[in-house]
Symmetry: C2
Subunit: 448 residues, 2 copies
């Protein structure tokens, strides 16, 4: 009889796991439960459909349902798992009763943090997540005149830009002094904020949400904040991601300090034959060891693949993370790897920093764009510990990938200062910004 | 009395050296001799002015002459050095006589290989190099109807595209079966060749140049080749770069198998107090140890900086090279690091290869482009030994930089298969092509 793996969740963690099981054991029985009507779509694309950069929600569907049938993966749509029994090795499924497993992968994802203010039961509060809901909300957006985005999180950034592109009077409120404060440094975000202002966005930093205020129909009509009331007809709630951990918690599976499921290097939980992947779990930062939660779809997918391979009888490790990240923001693209200065300071990690104000190609070639890039390094060993960038777009993603790998491999400022780089007028400048930043970091280290 | 450094050559090697000396010893006397009327321009941009992508030759000038005056660097323009005496530590300068030095940096650059056929004394043969000459040649191009580019070298590639963009009937002749055969693999060049054909370029591979044929006025009217005669009114001679080594050779400075000046890790030549940088010297390949010659302006500049620092009394090493490269070609951008399959096969290095047919951003995001990327690795250790790419442009340069550094650090296919990557629809796909290629390489290694 084939081994049976049950997977809870149809996001990148769950679908990655399904593929992972089949990769090591094509004969395995794989049953995947998702609450939604679709699977394997890219929710990360939703803000860009709202913003008009992608022309249809249909384009976000990655693989049709038939692809899963063909792959021998039994997907149960719109189906809720209500309990896990790790002793009896069963899950309870609404409408199906108790279902047994040989191995289980939990990919229950995230929920937006509860804003914790009155009025969250009003209409007009949009939590961006489900693609079918997004199509409905797009009509609401089309009829909205004034919108507020609650918190300058990664999703908040994307939605601010999207709403502004739609010509809506857009307000952003955030309790921090600048946008994306949990990840990025103020100097990286300054040009982004300037470009939002150019788009007409109203930025309300150092501002706390106090309540959503409703009209007679129970629909949001304003938000009350520490800096006064803002009339709106739409509120995008882009609070930080929290792990969807209720099922795991009720089953007695160990949770960590972030609330995420604790996993080992094999993505295995504290329970026998139970693995987890994606936003439901927490993963230690590769340098600091601090648990991270709420990473990207790419992380969830890679974790899911590892969890699935192990659940299917394989042996696959998933290493600690150095978190390359990047996103368009306003008219710029921002990105980085590991820490910025704000985070390093907050957790008490000493650093020196080297900054480059570089360019993306020869300064005389059309389309040349600015790239500001900074590298943080340990003052003694000169090992790189973080990087952040803001630029016109070219190569931000690829540099973030590279710098995360450089941190993973313990590269020093000296190593980056002596790296070779492509010089070709149309695609790369004589001097690579990474090299300039590393050299400037060495100067800073000498003075430190 | 300040130490005096003499530099021969005003290209990136020479100007890099001038800055290098001043960086370690601001009081040093620095005298730089160049045969040309200008300094520190970017000859790499010339084909793009011819092609219309850059609007003026003036834009290629990097720093005005005054900048060198301000930096305390004494540049002698249009001045020829005719001899070096390493025993007496002097150079002979036309019009100045014998000039002494404490240290000397040779940055005499390259010359195009002599085509070695009759007719090289005809008019209408364009060797792309000097910016003032290029401005004159641009007028010739404007009046040309049919042109031939001799050899599909890096410069040849750029000039083919430039001439085609100018609407000239363009022929390319090359003795190899495909373009850029000394560096690139045929599968990488195939889409480039296809895009040239779309532009109307006539490709003549496996074709040897036999003679330039002249008209009554002593101007080229055709080329004779192993596949017949091609009537042209312009011939761009883009043969491979050879080291400009006459001065060094006459001075008894040691040359290597490529004809380039042999230097140690400090860019020091066999002669006391004499350093060299750029295309005049040869540098060992970081993996194979084989001497490389005719690298890029970026290499020359970095070598010049190291040579200058050492000539000025500092201690700076320049490491063996892993040669990231990249260039637009036809409607594509190609690039790589270290070897491709053709070179690895030619020099007898065993390898396995993993190929990714990837995309530059989410497949549903506008502007998404194909990226074909392949990684070569040692079959036993799985250490990466080379990479090549062809794609729409995004991130080719940055990936080449990264992969060169990955090779330098001995990263394996396993290391690249488990790297993290940014996922953000507008700038990066869920799965990075490097990761896919590395995974496919592991599959190939298992079968090998």
């Amino acid at each position: 009889m084939p081994r049976k793996t049950v997977i809870i969740g149809g996001g990148p963690g769950g679908t990655g796991a399904a593929g992972g099981v089949k990769a090591v054991d094509p004969s395995a029985e794989v049953v995947l439960y998702t609450q939604f009507e679709d699977i394997a779509y890219s929710p990360c694309g939703i803000p860009y459909v709202h913003g008009g950069e992608i022309d249809s929600f249909d384009r976000l569907i990655l693989a049709g349902k038939q692809a899963y049938v063909d792959a021998g993966i039994d997907v149960h749509y719109e189906t809720t798992v209500t309990a896990i029994d790790t002793a009896r090795k069963t899950v309870t499924v609404k409408g199906e009763g108790e279902v047994s497993y040989d191995s289980l992968v939990i990919g229950t994802g995230f929920a937006y943090a509860d804003p914790g203010v009155p009025g969250t039961d009003l209409g007009g509060l949009y939590y961006v997540k489900n693609i079918r809901a997004a199509a409905e909300w797009d009509k609401v957006i089309a009829n909205s005149k004034r919108a507020v985005v609650v918190e300058a999180s990664p999703l908040g950034l994307e939605m601010v830009t999207a709403l502004a592109h739609r010509g809506i009077e857009t307000h952003l409120i955030d309790p921090n002094p600048y946008a994306l404060a949990a990840m990025a440094d103020p100097d990286i975000m300054a040009p982004v904020e300037e470009s939002w202002r150019e788009l007409g966005v109203h930025l309300h930093f150092n501002t706390t949400l106090e309540a959503f205020l409703g009209d007679a129909d129970g629909k949001v009509r304003a938000v009350r904040t520490s800096s006064g009331e803002i009339p709106v007809d739409l509120a995008v709630v882009a609070t930080h991601k929290t792990p969807n951990n209720a099922l795991a918690a009720a089953a007695g599976i160990k949770l960590g300090s972030t609330g995420g499921i604790v996993v080992d290097e094999h993505m295995k939980t504290s329970a026998p034959d139970v693995w987890a992947a994606g936003d439901a779990c927490e993963i230690p930062h590769g340098l600091a060891g601090t648990p991270l939660q709420g990473l990207t779809g790419s992380h969830a997918y890679a974790q899911g693949k590892a969890a699935g391979q192990n659940a299917g009888g394989g042996d696959k490790t998933y290493k600690t993370v150095f978190v390359p990240w990047g996103t368009p923001a306003g008219k710029w693209v921002i990105g980085g790897a590991s820490f910025g200065e704000a985070t390093a300071t907050a957790i008490g990690i000493p650093y020196v920093v080297g900054v480059a104000e570089g360019i993306s190609r020869s300064r005389y070639y059309s389309g040349v764009k600015k790239v500001k890039l900074k590298i943080l390094a340990d003052p003694k060993s000169h090992k790189v510990i973080g990087a952040q960038m803001v630029g016109g777009g070219d190569g931000i993603k690829e540099r973030a990938d590279f710098l995360a790998q450089a941190i993973r491999f313990g590269m020093t400022l000296e190593d980056l200062a002596t790296m070779e780089n492509v010089f070709a007028p149309a695609i790369g400048a004589l001097t690579e910004p990474i090299v300039v930043a590393a050299n400037n970091g060495l100067v800073a280290a000498k003075k430190a």
